[in-house]
């Protein structure tokens, strides 16, 4: 197999993800293809904005000491971002499904997520599409294998990687952060409805992650958004 020929890894609703040898390295290529249902001007604007937001937030995460893939090329013309391939990884979604809450490391993962989200928000980054599929667990030292050993967790040898920042934005308001948490809660409820404490554990870690505090306003906005959702009048 020719390694420089892109291999399709994932076909998403708005992007195709390929793996390919590029500049001598295994590389992820994320292509935001054209959506024919929307006006071409709107389509180009949305794609440009998402590529820009994604690259910008990925970089800013690095300043916040949140692991994200390295960026190799941001190509607006080809609607593609070229970035680092992390050989060994598992999505939080698959981890929860495979190992479940029975796993002693379930809490460890939830706490890591809470702490990471707090860092994200403390750096004024709002992810915009927080789901358990957009978080990867990787070993601190990358190896070439593509399997993941849950035992690494016990030794603290893993890192959480945040991906899919297309809907993210920077310099977010407190309300935006509240909505970000709400989006995650809803996503977890629909994906992992059998683990109700998952979000609660994440939220607890989120609250306590930074001893400097300053999170009360975000939490109260989150609760406000949540209440609004539940109580919306919904006139037929």
């Amino acid at each position: 197999m020719d390694e420089s020929e892109p291999q399709l890894l994932k076909q998403g609703a708005e992007a195709r993800v390929y793996i390919c040898k590029y500049l001598g390295k295994q590389t992820i290529i994320k292509e935001r293809f054209q959506k024919k249902y929307r006006h071409p001007d709107l389509d180009i604007e949305i794609v440009k904005e998402r590529i820009r937001n994604e690259a910008r937030s990925i970089l800013r995460c690095k300043y916040a000491n949140i692991r994200t893939p390295a960026l190799y090329l941001v190509d607006f013309e080809r609607r593609k971002i070229y970035m680092e391939y992390l050989a060994t990884n598992i999505t939080v979604k698959d981890f929860v499904i495979k190992h479940g809450s029975a796993n002693e490391h379930f809490d460890t993962i939830a706490k890591m997520i809470g702490q990471t989200l707090r860092k994200l928000h403390d750096y004024n980054i709002v992810h915009g599409d927080l789901t358990s599929s957009n978080m990867l667990i990787i070993p601190k030292v990358q190896n070439d294998g593509d399997w993941f050993d849950p035992a690494w967790l016990a030794k603290g040898q893993v890192e959480l990687v945040m991906i899919d920042f297309g809907l993210s934005y920077i310099d977010a308001s407190v309300e935006d952060k509240g909505v970000d948490l709400y989006v995650l809660e809803r996503a977890l409820l629909s994906t992992h409805s059998n683990y109700e404490n998952l979000f609660e554990t994440i939220l607890e870690a989120y609250k306590t992650a930074n001893p400097k505090g300053g999170v009360e306003e975000t939490i109260s906005k989150f609760e406000e958004v949540r209440a609004r959702g539940r109580k919306r009048t919904m006139i037929g």
């Binding site: 998403g12 609703a13 708005e14 959506k35 024919k36 249902y37 929307r38 006006h39 001007d41 709107l42 604007e45 949305i46 915009g128 599409d129 927080l130 789901t131 809907l167 909505v179 970000d180 709400y182 989006v183 809803r186 996503a187 629909s190 994906t191 409805s193 958004v225 609004r228 959702g229 539940r230 109580k231 919306r232 009048t233 919904m234 006139i235 037929g236």
Partner: protein
């Protein structure tokens, strides 16, 4: 064989419908239409329903040839909706149930739309986009609930369109949304508007205030038709995007569009293009069933009734807030 009658009046439409074993035998409706630039208010809407409900009920009975003694269950909209108009229908339904000595059943309005859509289109297990003046939700069925995967975090898409029609002082006859749709067909110039998707949720209030704030300037450079066109292209693109995301999430290959905005042909068309690209099918209905009606309440009530759901007369109240995912679906696996 179940014969059910349904009363619907949660907003400005008043409907009475009768179903016999999944066959629609009556679907009668009146709409309260307000002057241009005005929305409908609870008190006036309730008055409209009061003045018309007897005539609509008579029409439904006459049209169907069903007599009260043949009816198995009397259904009405329990919520969500505006309190006073909901109350009008609830009172009439309770009176009928007592007079005719029939069981009563309160129905969730949103569930009514979904079940009606499934009945008419034969969609099996669709991802549902429910879009109306008061609601914008992406719904999918999972373990005895219609679960909400995405929704508006502020105003409903129909509300956004209606209010924009008011800004342009368009007629509310037959409905503001219909008039926007016709105007949009004539629009040619696209004006970029804020596009706001957060995960599977959307927000429309920013678009509305963006246009409200600039309306005089905008009308210098664009015709009202262009603005209606740009608005539709933007908000519908948002809806199609979150629908697709929910479909990907659930691994679904069917979409059902329900609710008043669901009869917009441009929305159906855009959804169709998206579905074609992913080998999925789109199901939609026309204004007879999309727009609030009594049949949807009768049909959802008939389903619940057949699966053994009962409501005590003392519980036959109304509630302005009633979430789709609060209802336990007893008639699906």
């Amino acid at each position: 064989m179940v014969i059910a009658i349904g009363f619907e009046g949660s907003a400005n439409k008043l409907g009475v419908g009768i179903v016999r074993d999944g066959q629609i035998v009556a679907n009668c409706r009146r709409t309260y239409i307000t002057p241009p630039g005005q929305g409908f208010l609870p008190r006036e809407t309730a008055e409209h329903h009061q003045q018309n409900i007897h005539a609509v009920l008579r029409e439904a009975l006459d049209q169907s040839g069903i007599t009260p003694d043949m009816i198995d269950v009397v259904c009405y909209t329990k919520g969500p909706g505006m309190g006073a108009p909901l109350m009008v229908c609830a009172i009439v339904a309770r009176t009928c149930a007592k007079l005719w000595k029939k069981p009563i059943l309160g129905v969730n309005h949103c569930i009514g739309h979904i079940e009606m859509g499934r009945l008419i289109t034969n969609a099996y297990n669709p991802t549902v986009l429910y879009v109306s003046g008061g609601n914008t939700q992406i719904i999918a069925y999972d373990r005895n609930k219609y679960r909400i995967f995405g929704e508006t975090i502020d105003i409903a898409v129909g509300n956004c369109l209606d209010r924009f029609a008011r800004v342009l002082k368009m007629s509310n006859e037959p409905s503001p949304g219909y008039n926007i749709e016709q105007a949009a067909k004539r629009g040619t110039k696209y004006f970029p508007l804020p596009y706001c998707v957060k995960g599977m949720d959307v927000s429309f209030s920013g678009i509305l205030s963006f246009m409200e704030d600039r309306i005089d300037d905008l009308l210098q450079k664009f015709t009202p038709d262009d603005l209606c066109y740009s608005l539709q292209e933007t908000v519908f693109a948002m809806l199609v995007e979150i629908t697709e995301r929910a479909m990907a999430h659930c691994g679904s290959d069917e979409v059902l569009i329900v609710g008043g905005v669901g009869c917009n042909v441009r929305l159906q068309e855009m959804m169709g293009v998206m579905c074609k690209e992913r080998d999925a099918r789109v199901f939609a209905t026309d204004e007879r069933f999309c727009i609030d009606n009594g049949v949807m309440i009768a049909w959802a009530g008939a389903l619940a009734h057949s699966s053994g759901t009962k409501m005590d007369f003392s519980e036959s109240t109304i509630t302005q807030r009633y979430r789709t995912d609060d209802v336990v679906i007893t008639w699906r696996d």
